[in-house]
Amino acid sequence: MDGIRVGKRVVGTQSPVTIGWENIPKVEGGLLKRLFFTWFQPAVLFGLVAFWYYAPNSIAKASTAIGIGIGFRVILQILELTNPRHQSWQITWKELATDLFYVGLAGTLLNLAENYIGSDVAIEAIQGSLHLEKFAWFTGLPLLVQAFLIIFIFDFVQYWMHRGMHNWYPLWLPHSVHHYITQLNVHKGAVGNPVELFLIGLGIGGLFDFLPRAFLLAGAIGMSVGAYQHINVRFNSPRWWRWTFNTTEHHSLHHSQDFESTRSNYANTLIFIDRMFGTCIDGEAELLGMEGGRRMSIREQMLYPFTEGWKAYKERATRAPLFARANSSSAVPAE
């Protein structure tokens, strides 16, 4: 495969990818269908922002947010079933059960572990030992600015963690298993080793104080943008949306079987962070995964980072030191 030049890199040499928004297919069908898949994303985003901005305090609670979140996921799941983007990504019973198992792990055991070893706990411990209060720098700002800062601070840290995972082997090991997914579906964001899910959830947001309503707004924006990252539905996302937010297209490229394409589009919600650091590629891919699209079982997903890590450690431990190798049999006698 020849590949496509994007800036300094050539993508799509190992597996087909589509580059450039003008080459990405649009939703086809009747007027109503096209209108729905063009306006659904902005309508949900602005609708939820308005709701959380004006909801009375008696409604503006975390429990309401959880209810809306579950309802939204159910709607997206129905959209996936009725309007799949690719037949080759169609959700099946086994795939749904597998994905929900990871969602269940993240929602229960991982949350439980974060009570003891999460970044918020660590920050609270540091603040406690240094007798520091949270930085209340932002609480006087408008709510939407606070919400943006919450998302940006989390996404910025997450961007570098994710980029680090693709560039440093010890971090790649727990993240690698997430790249064995062979198709995108709405719950696929949770598929991965719990160590990776823990690492990607680390943040420094706990250092700062924000108004509770700002957290709810940030949660709603994050949900109504981030939920599409792994979805098997095609939307005609507006140009400003594609410039600002991560989309299924961006993320499918990140999961491509083409190695060079996977080294792009690291941000979770705000794709403009990738644009800031030159790692954004606008495009999409259908063939996803690793090792030619091998599907990894749950058991292997749980064990692989440790077994591969052990193999790498043993290989390094038994390898002769660099200078010893240079001075051994390969040394050429001087004339």
Binding site: K94, G104, L109, P142
Partner: protein, 216 residues
Amino acid sequence: MATPAEKVSPLRLMDWIWRLRGEVPLPAGQTADEALGKLEPLFAHPGTTHARMGDLIAVTKKDQLAQDPLSVVDSGVLHIVPAGEGAVLRYNLMSRALLWCFLAPLLFLGVAQLTIALGKLEKPPTEEKSKKDDKKKDKKSEIQLSPVDKFLGAPAPEKPKDEKDKDKKKKAEEEAPEGFSPTPAYVFAGIFAALYILGRILEAILIRRLFQRTLA
């Protein structure tokens, strides 16, 4: 017909949990050889190995792809047997996905119990908690909305009311501490119980339909 060995096996009584059994009649005039020949392409998917022995196909699967029509199957046997004037395809397939899905509610119920147990250990002394809450309350009462939000009509942050707070505190003391609620684990136990019932019925129908269509 079940063999004597199968009759005595206690597993046989409950293997309906992870086994999909059934029979599909062969179209009139179709021989066993023709039928198995038609079925063989179903086993050409990645991760699938199969062996044909006379009127029988034994199959095993590993790392099945999601779009493999037999992705829930891990191993099994398909056998053409005479029935009346014709013949039927009799299949007996094992699915680990069904077994794990059946067991998943137990796992999440266990997680719920673990969460409750850890929550009991983590419950802070009431005095310490009320001091913390008072501190938070003092800070909360100072917080005001930005002028932009006031102008746009966003509701002001709630100021803690003592009476209401006392009720809330009482309620919170009875409930699990923050981060130790077993509710999500119970919800997932319920989700997987429902998923198992759905999968056991749906996959049996889909596999039967797949064989019927392939043989037709």
